[in-house]
């Protein structure tokens, strides 16, 4: 168990390192000039290049970049965004804003989705089941930003129930719409998944057994059904959080939230593309993604004893399979 976790952490770190290197390589090697050549003389550009270390071999530059991150937490300076302020001062505020909205959205989406899914599974064929099905169809076919646009149009423009834009000082009130629209997709996915898992467990023999022994009601649901039904639900949460990262890009654009998504959009679509921001945000996004996957893998492993037990024999079997394949 501990070995598995350590191995998993090591793999995640290695993956992140490789990705950082790849991103760095791509941004540095690809054609493009960080300086406006029509406004600067050749000598000035050469001087600036030498000053920024752009003439060194790429590997040396990468070494400097990594050591800067590890030692001082500096991702270099942004050139155009925020008047060239160091990225390490801009990033934390943006991350704070994004994480708060994203956190509220995922909490809301997962908890409401769970409740809906359970309600649907317990009342199969009745109102909540139908509601759950409709919600899952809507969640799949309406992208979250379309939902957002509708929310904004009806709740902020036609009626002024909620403010049009996000405002940090009025967090609770103005975060309702972005969080709600972000959570639509995760809510529908979790609801559908929970419902299907629960229905499957409820039809299984051991539940019948428990029922025939006289167990009923809440005790049956919480002790026997939910425990097993919820384990696979953990696996869908990881991709949901990742989708949230993507969705956050548009939410932040629509509601004017100063988060990392907006930073990313600004860095890509601004007048000059900001290489340092793209790199820093790329590493940040990849790190978050890998981190989420890692945590959920470990949680899943802790939750489900079957995975822990079957970890070792499974491997032997797969290597045997490979051996067969080579022979055949």
């Amino acid at each position: 168990m501990a070995r598995y976790i350590i191995k998993r952490i090591f793999m995640a770190a290695a993956t992140l390192f490789i990705i950082t290197f790849l991103l760095f390589l791509l941004v540095r090697i690809m054609p493009g000039n960080p300086f406006p050549s029509e406004r600067m003389s050749d000598e000035a550009i050469a001087k600036k290049r030498a000053e920024m270390g752009l003439d060194d071999p790429v590997l040396v530059q990468f070494g400097h970049y990594i050591s800067d991150i590890l030692r001082t937490g500096s991702f270099g300076k942004g050139s155009s965004l925020y008047n060239g302020a160091p990225i390490s001062t801009v990033l934390p505020t943006a991350m704070g804003n994004s994480f708060r909205i994203g956190g509220v959205a995922i909490l809301f989406g997962v908890s409401v989705g769970l409740i809906l899914g359970i309600a649907a599974a317990l009342n199969r064929g009745h109102f909540w089941d139908v509601f759950c099905t409709v919600l899952s169809i809507v969640g799949v076919c309406i992208p979250s930003y379309v939902f957002m646009i509708f929310l904004q149009y009806f709740l902020a423009y036609k009626t002024t129930i909620f403010p049009f834009y996000f405002n940090n000082r009025n967090f609770l009130h103005s975060a309702v719409m972005p969080a709600l629209s972000l959570s639509l997709f995760s809510m529908s996915t979790v609801a559908r998944f929970t419902r299907n898992e629960m229905v499957e467990v409820m039809d299984s023999d051991y539940v019948l057994m428990a029922e025939s022994k006289g167990m009923y009601g809440t005790k049956l649901v919480t002790r026997h059904i939910l425990r097993n039904a919820l384990i696979p639900v953990v696996t869908v949460i990881a991709p949901l959080i990742v989708d949230l990262l993507t969705g956050a890009l548009v939410v932040e654009k629509i509601y004017g939230i100063n988060g990392i998504g907006k930073l990313m959009v600004d860095a890509i679509t601004g007048e000059g593309i900001d290489y340092n921001y793209v790199l820093a945000l790329g590493i940040l996004y990849s790190a978050m993604y890998i981190g989420i996957m890692l945590v959920l893998d470990i949680v899943y492993c802790l939750l489900d004893p079957r995975i822990r037990v079957s970890d070792r024999p499974k491997k032997k079997k797969s290597s045997a399979e490979n051996g067969e394949g080579v022979q055949a």
């Binding site: 791509l26 493009g32 076919c141 379309v146 890509i268 399979e321 055949a328």
Partner: protein
């Protein structure tokens, strides 16, 4: 046991067989076995697919949207980037059809009893015009065409890349598989957003960027499925037979095994197409995708969003097209998945 029971009941008169009992019944055609008729795999798939109401609805919606995307832009004389304008006969000035709500002369006449009194009295703009004066009907279907084309092309190429990668990785196993799977793992850990960001540093924004970003990310799912199918199939006897008959690796992978993996891969394609359409729409919405005067569903939604407070009707058609496309492809994907891998109780 049966003897005991019959002895308890008073004996019935014994049945005396006649000649007719031993003659062939020539009225029945027994050359085909109807009770245990064998059914081709694909025939079964089609039958199960068309039994599902949702799948058929999805297929019909996709068909309608594709037909409209093909003929819609040609149903009137406007081009997708033409700005509609006429010379006002009274003032002699050029008037542009900016931001007009849906404008259908015969319908207007039917409901209000009079014709339009604007300079475009005879022109039909079914969905209205956008803020530059372009006909939205033409643009919506042109945009749907662009979106669908991007989705189909990228998913097709992704299928070829991902399928080959997964099949080869699964077939050879060992070191090749380990290396290839580590590669997949790294590629899978880079969010699509980051790929778009890095691509945008050296590529011009536009269709090509969207296609490359999709090409770089969507093949991974395909390769995983192809590999899993390969692992399932490669130990079967017919592969051994083929090998014994002298078939080489490539023949086994692409001629013996590939046709048997095609079902799950087609299902995956059906689920990838809405992802591709959505990604394209999303990138165009953010401003990295399609550039004006070109348009796609996503860029039309963005246009509509920019004017949503004053001209809310502009955003409705592209959103409906997008939502219906996503819905339909998901329905068809679900239907295909169930048709290809039926559970026993459904048979």
């Amino acid at each position: 046991m049966s003897k005991e029971r019959t002895s308890a009941v008073p004996a019935a008169p014994a049945y005396v067989p006649t000649d007719a009992d031993f003659a062939f019944d020539t009225t029945i055609d027994i050359t085909t076995d109807r009770n245990y008729a064998s059914q081709g795999f694909w025939k079964g798939v089609f039958m199960r697919f068309f039994k599902s109401v949702r799948a058929v609805i999805g297929l019909v919606i996709i068909g309608i949207i594709i037909i409209l995307a093909l003929i819609g832009p040609h149903m009137n004389s406007y081009g997708y980037s033409d700005i509609q304008s006429v010379t006002d006969p009274e003032t002699g000035k050029e008037v542009t059809a900016r931001s007009m709500p849906p404008h259908v002369p015969w319908l207007h006449k039917l409901t209000t009893g009079e014709s339009y009194d604007d300079p475009f009295a005879e022109e039909t703009f079914l969905f209205g015009t956008d803020s530059m004066g372009r006909d939205l009907w033409t643009r919506v279907w042109y945009g749907a065409r662009v979106s669908l084309l991007i989705a189909f092309v990228t998913i097709f190429i992704d299928m070829i890349i991902g399928m080959s990668f997964g099949l080869i990785s699964g077939f050879f196993g060992g070191v090749a598989d380990a290396v290839m799977q580590r590669f997949v793992e790294v590629a899978n850990s880079i969010p699509r957003l980051v790929i778009v960001g890095v691509l945008a540093t050296f590529m011009p924004k536009g269709i090509v960027l969207v296609i490359v970003a999709l090409l770089l990310t969507e093949w991974i799912g395909m390769s995983k499925i192809a590999r899993a199918e390969m692992l399932k199939i490669k130990g079967q006897e017919y592969i051994m037979a083929s090998r014994t008959l002298g078939a080489g690796n490539w023949r086994i992978i692409f001629i013996d095994i590939l046709p048997n993996t095609i079902g799950p891969i087609i299902t995956q394609m059906m689920f990838s197409i809405p992802t591709a359409i959505f990604t394209e729409a999303f990138l165009s919405f953010v401003g990295v995708g399609i550039m004006l005067p070109q348009c796609s569903v996503g860029s039309l939604i963005e246009d509509g969003f920019n004017n949503i407070t004053t001209l809310p009707y502009q955003i409705v058609p592209p959103i409906l097209v997008l939502a219906f496309l996503m819905l339909a492809f998901n329905f068809v994907g679900d239907g295909l998945r169930e048709a290809l891998a039926p559970r026993i109780e459904d048979m």
